[in-house]
C-alpha cells in the first residue's frame, strides 16, 4: 500500500475516511504497516464502526465485506456521500482478522475487528 500518512490525511480532509486491512489472526491486533501509516500512531477506540463480514468464507477469492461509519482499501467520503458506508469484495489468503479503521470528521480514530474463517484461500500461488 503506497499511501503515506499525509495522503490519508489529505483524503480525509472534510470527510470521514476509512481503511480496511486484513491482518493475521492473532489475539491482539498489532498496529503495523499501513495501519500505523493511516492513523499516524493515534490511539483507537473500539465501537463507532461496524464491520460486516462472513464468519466463514467459502472462497477467499471474493469475500464480501461491508463497513459502516471503512491496507485493502481507503474510502474517502466526499461532500455528497449519502452515508459513511460502503461495501466491496476483498481477497483473503486464509483465516484472519479483518480490521476496519475509521477516521472520524473530528480527527479521532475508531476500529472494528472481525475474524473471518477462509476455506479456500484467495491469493493464488
Amino acid at each position: 500500500m503506497n499511501l503515506t500518512r499525509r495522503d490519508a490525511l489529505a483524503l480525509g480532509a472534510g470527510a470521514t475516511s476509512l481503511a480496511v486491512l486484513p491482518l493475521p489472526a492473532l489475539a491482539d491486533v498489532p498496529m503495523v504497516g499501513a495501519l500505523a501509516d493511516f492513523t499516524g500512531g493515534a490511539a483507537m477506540s473500539e465501537g463507532g464502526v461496524s464491520l460486516t463480514a462472513p464468519e466463514i468464507a467459502e472462497n477467499g477469492k471474493s469475500v464480501p465485506i461491508e463497513v459502516d461509519a471503512p491496507g485493502v482499501a481507503i474510502f474517502a467520503f466526499g461532500p455528497l456521500a449519502g452515508s459513511q458506508s460502503a461495501s466491496t469484495r476483498i481477497r483473503l489468503a486464509g483465516t484472519q482478522n479483518v480490521v476496519a479503521v475509521a477516521k472520524m470528521a473530528n480527527g479521532s480514530f475508531a476500529q472494528a475487528t472481525k475474524e473471518v474463517k477462509v476455506i479456500i484461500g484467495g491469493c493464488g500461488g
Partner: protein, 109 residues
C-alpha cells in the same frame, strides 16, 4: 489497456432533491496482484485498478484507494446524496495508466 475491461454501474433513473440513493458499480478487471507466479516461477507483474472515484456534477461522492487485496472485478456499493438533477461520473484508474469512465444521468422527481 488491459483487455476485457467493462465498467457497469447501477444508478436509479430519478430521485427527489436531497434524496439518498444507493449506487452499485462493478468493473471487469483481472486485478493481478503482483504476488502470483506463473508456471515457470516468474512473478506475474502487478496490474490493478488503484483508484476509483465517483462524482456528481463535479462534486465528489467517494474516492477509494485500492490495494492488491481487492478481488477480481472490483465491486463497490455506496450511497450518494442527490441535491438536484445531474450526472454521476465514475472513474477507474488502472496501474498501466488507462482511465475508464462511465457516466449516468439522474432526473429530479
Amino acid at each position: 489497456m488491459a483487455s476485457g475491461v467493462k465498467p457497469r454501474v447501477k444508478v436509479p433513473k430519478s430521485a427527489s432533491a436531497g434524496e439518498v440513493v444507493t449506487i452499485k458499480t462493478l468493473i471487469s478487471h483481472t486485478m493481478e496482484s503482483g504476488h502470483r507466479k506463473d508456471s515457470d516461477g516468474k512473478v506475474i507483474p502487478r496490474e490493478i485498478i488503484n483508484r476509483f472515484t465517483c462524482d456528481f456534477n463535479d462534486q465528489n461522492v467517494i474516492d477509494v484507494m485500492l490495494a492488491p487485496a481487492i478481488s477480481t472485478n472490483p465491486y463497490f456499493e455506496f450511497q450518494a446524496k442527490v441535491p438536484e438533477a445531474g450526472e454521476f461520473t465514475f472513474t477507474w484508474y488502472d496501474d498501466d495508466g488507462s482511465v475508464y469512465t462511465e457516466s449516468k444521468k439522474i432526473k429530479a422527481g
